[in-house]
């Protein structure tokens, strides 16, 4: 059994899809096929990977046009005989082959106001109930594969990286805002810097999340509600005007 991979080869200036024929093994994943191509046909084929178990979020790519982790995508997921297309994530500038420049994500993260805990209890530790941290633990499952960023039309089609942080960092902000110990306020950051208003809840991000985080329902919508409460509530607006602050 063999499969044909059509892999994007090229860089920021030019490139094309090239065909590689790969022998198939039971249980093989797309990343195995890419490694086989590296070892036998194109030693300089660039791709990122680390854990090969869906835990690190390095090997993101577009497989037949769909954002996926290559290490968690089985070759037998696709109809036999049909070529499989591999392209780098479209929302980011390509560096080479399947590797793109994701540095923008790290710069967004850097600007998020850091975690600021409430003072600990008398014994120097904190008590938290599991039920109160369950929802934050969901957000902290994020492996930063950036597939949600890739699929988000605000970033992918409209390239609003100047004004929208994207689903990954709204999840991160939700993890901070709903952290039972955190006392920092990130309302203004959410509204102005992270541009939460740009999200119009199409849920594409949720669909591609390999960790099954309910990005839209559990992270973004509650954050939108917070921003509305803080900035658009008529009573609060009046209060702010009376106090002379924005």
């Amino acid at each position: 059994m063999e499969a044909v991979l059509k892999i994007f080869r090229g860089d920021a200036t030019s490139g094309a899809f090239r065909d590689y024929t790969v022998p198939l093994d039971e249980g093989m994943v797309v990343l195995d096929a890419v490694h086989w191509v590296q070892a036998h046909q194109a030693s300089d084929l660039a791709c990122r990977w680390n854990c090969k178990a869906g835990r690190c979020g390095s090997c993101s790519a577009e497989v037949n046009g769909k954002p996926r982790l290559m290490c968690m995508t089985r070759m037998d997921h696709f109809p036999p005989g049909e070529p499989i297309t591999l392209a780098p994530m479209k929302a980011f500038p390509v560096l080479k082959d399947l590797v793109c420049d994701v540095s923008w994500n790290y710069s967004v993260n850097r600007r998020i106001p850091a975690f600021k805990p409430a003072p600990p209890e008398a014994d120097g530790t904190w008590r938290m109930q599991q039920v109160d941290i369950d929802r934050v633990q969901e957000f902290r499952k994020c492996i930063e594969c950036f597939l949600c960023q890739d699929v988000c039309h605000v970033l992918r089609d409209h390239d609003r990286k100047d004004s929208f942080a994207g689903p990954r960092f709204l999840v991160r902000l939700a993890g901070l805002e709903m952290h039972p110990l955190d006392v920092e306020s990130r309302g203004a950051h959410l509204k102005e810097e992270a541009g939460i208003g740009f999200c119009n809840i199409t849920k594409c991000c949720t669909e591609v999340c390999p960790e099954s985080i309910h990005i839209t329902d559990n992270a973004i919508i509650p954050l939108k509600e917070r921003v509305v409460d803080e900035f658009y509530d008529p009573l609060r607006r009046l209060w702010r005007r009376l106090r002379g602050s924005a």
Partner: protein, 604 residues
């Protein structure tokens, strides 16, 4: 080096896993300038793969725990070959380091009264692992990463590989690196370098490690003249996946057994009852009934009065037992043992406590672990041996060089307990950061970097581009991995080890003929070629150390010397570079002082 990009720092940290990030955070807190350099993107280091938890005697889940018990467990797990002072520091400081993570935003699973919940693990007498389901490493690295980039704004050079350490008159003066993206060189000058590069798993075919684990720090330190100790002790984790081929070696967390999972052979026997070593005989259940009582207590959240199931023996013991069952014809269909949690816990509990394992088996192996057993076999997982360091400061034997985490040797002795690696990263990452900062501050003036030295290195790094195509770097790496698995695996003979040395000579010659296609821009073939040098160095060190230790102890098994030898219990095997030759010598280990000896003997 006319156009060489150069930057200068007080402290350079190599590696951005738990140890590297914790070292960087500490060094910045001590007021020196710090840079971190890492081979992958930030947050992808192997620490994210740590599943089960971080061992710290917080005593939140069982009040009988304390640093003394943790110390004793660690030493006994390491077959008493550990650096006792490091084991003591680990046990004493781990709780503070874990609580500190919580102050930085980490969210561990909770006890009913709202404190940090602890899980049982192999070799730990009490539930001791603070955890987050089975993704503890991710929680840790994210917390440290956010601390690094948000609270402290440390310079991080991502996807940048250290090719060589530079020295000036025997002292560290920086590192020559290449940026993977562009292939361009970057000279990082520093008064002190902290190695936090992890292990050597890629020297073996069946392993649980990522491509990064090519023994870089071990080899860099060796090249710079530092001593390596304990290189014969490679941990084979008892439970790696075996089927399908694509996932062979991927880790199955010890947490499965900590949550009550049992090991069975093809006859349905819980074979671990037959493998309890003399040293642990009194501490483990000898009937299934007693083992089940322990599990029932643990599930109910009671203090267990029964003794622990033998599935929770130390990793060296369990790995050897599984290998023996398979060798004697009692293996599973794909040549492993059955690991069964489905018949022990409710499906809902399994999905809650082991979500990544559930997903990993469901998606990659078509196995639903809430309904059927897993098949497992040992996989190369962790390097106990490494750079010889001072236990207080983590200083190596070369001035200005420090090491922390897996790349450092001594703490784990002949076998590491699960969960102790994550506490190792925190406790000794912090100490290395402090040690490096203190050292850097005491230096007057910048150490020099010789243009000639740098030019020679860059020429060597670029040489594979001139040799078009005669050997593939992937083929050489593959051959090395096969050979190491066959000749320097779980059970070792003198003949195999001698054959390995001969094979390493041939592989080194082949590596010298490797040619690289394409250009310098993001070229994995070139990167693999450069990594080969390190893999060959550490493979030789493991092989030579394994030959020198003519006994079996912990993870190191010599077929013709099946027992531990009292004399070897008092020495480290030290690997050291002399000119171009690798030398091996025995050095006595510092004896355990009286009051700690009492703890080991249970008099405390």
């Amino acid at each position: 080096m006319d156009h060489l990009e150069t930057k200068t720092y007080d402290v350079l940290v190599v590696g951005a896993g738990g140890a590297g990030l914790r070292a960087a955070i500490e060094a910045v807190d001590q007021g020196v300038s710090v840079a971190v350099v890492c081979k992958s993107l930030l947050g992808k280091a192997h620490t994210v793969m740590a599943e089960g938890g971080v061992a710290a005697a917080l005593a939140t889940t069982d009040s009988r725990d304390g640093w003394r018990v943790h110390f004793r467990d660690t030493m006994r797990g390491g077959k008493l070959l550990n650096d006792w002072r490091m084991a003591q520091l680990l046990a004493q400081e781990a709780p503070a380091r874990v609580r500190e993570l919580e102050a930085w935003g980490a969210l561990f699973d909770r006890t009913p009264d709202g404190r940090i919940l602890q899980r049982n693990f192999g070799g730990h007498q009490y539930p001791r692992l603070a955890h987050v389901g089975d993704r503890t490493g991710l929680e840790m690295i994210r917390t440290l990463q956010d601390r690094t980039v948000q609270a402290q704004r440390i310079d991080v050079f991502m996807e940048c590989t250290v090719a060589r350490l530079l020295t000036d008159d025997g002292r560290i003066s920086g590192a020559l690196t290449y940026r993977r993206e562009s292939g361009r060189f970057l000279l990082l000058r520093a008064k002190a370098v902290v190695l936090a590069t992890g292990g050597i798993g890629r020297a073996y075919k069946i392993n649980s490690n990522s491509w990064e684990y090519t023994g870089d720090g071990h080899a860099l330190a060796y090249d710079a003249g530092a001593d390596l100790i304990g290189m014969e002790f490679v941990q084979f984790h008892p439970t790696g996946m075996v089927w399908p081929l694509s996932v062979r070696g991927i880790l199955v967390t010890e947490g499965v057994r900590g949550e009550g999972g049992v090991l069975k052979n093809s006859r349905g026997e819980r074979f671990m009852f037959r493998y309890i070593p003399e040293m642990f005989r009194g501490d483990f259940a000898d009937t299934e009934e007693e083992a089940d009582r322990w599990v029932a207590d643990v599930i109910a959240g009671r203090k267990a009065e029964a003794r622990r199931p033998p599935e929770l023996l130390t990793r060296d013991v369990v790995a050897r037992a599984i290998a023996q069952e398979v060798r004697e014809g009692r293996g599973s269909p794909h040549g492993g043992a059955f690991l069964d949690i489905a018949s022990r816990r409710k499906a809902e509990d399994i999905r809650k406590k082991l979500p990544s394992m559930y997903q990993q088996f469901f998606e990659l192996a078509d196995v639903d672990i809430t309904r059927e057993p897993m098949e497992v076999f040992p996989t190369t997982h962790y390097m106990m041996g490494g750079v010889k360091v001072d236990p207080e400061s983590q200083a190596a034997t070369v001035p200005g060089l420090f090491a922390a985490g897996e790349v450092a040797g001594g703490l784990h002795g002949a076998n590491r307990l699960g969960g102790n690696s994550l506490s190792d990263l925190l406790v000794f990452g912090r100490r290395a950061g402090a040690g490096a900062a203190t050292y850097a501050r005491a230096q007057s003036g910048e150490p020099g970097v010789e243009t000639r030295q740098v030019d020679a290195i860059t020429a060597e790094l670029l040489a594979p581009f001139e040799r078009k195509g005669s050997e593939s770097p992937y083929a050489v790496q593959d051959a090395l991995q096969d050979m190491m698995g066959t000749c320097v695996g779980i059970a070792r003979t003198a003949d195999d080890l001698q054959n390995a040395l001969a094979a390493l000579g041939e592989l080194r010659a082949r590596a010298g003929r490797v040619g690289v296609d394409g250009n310098r821009q993001y070229n994995p073939g070139w990167h693999t070629t450069l990594d080969l040098r390190n893999l060959l160095t550490v493979s030789e060190a493991v092989t030579r150390a394994a030959l020198a230790r003519r006994e079996s102890r912990g993870a190191h098994t010599r077929v013709e010397h099946p027992d531990s030898d009292k004399r070897f219990g008092t020495v480290n095997v030290v690997v050291r570079r002399q000119g171009d030759a690798m030398t091996v010598v025995e050095e006595p280990i510092v004896p355990v002082p009286g009051e700690l000896r009492d703890i080991l003997e249970g008099k405390d």
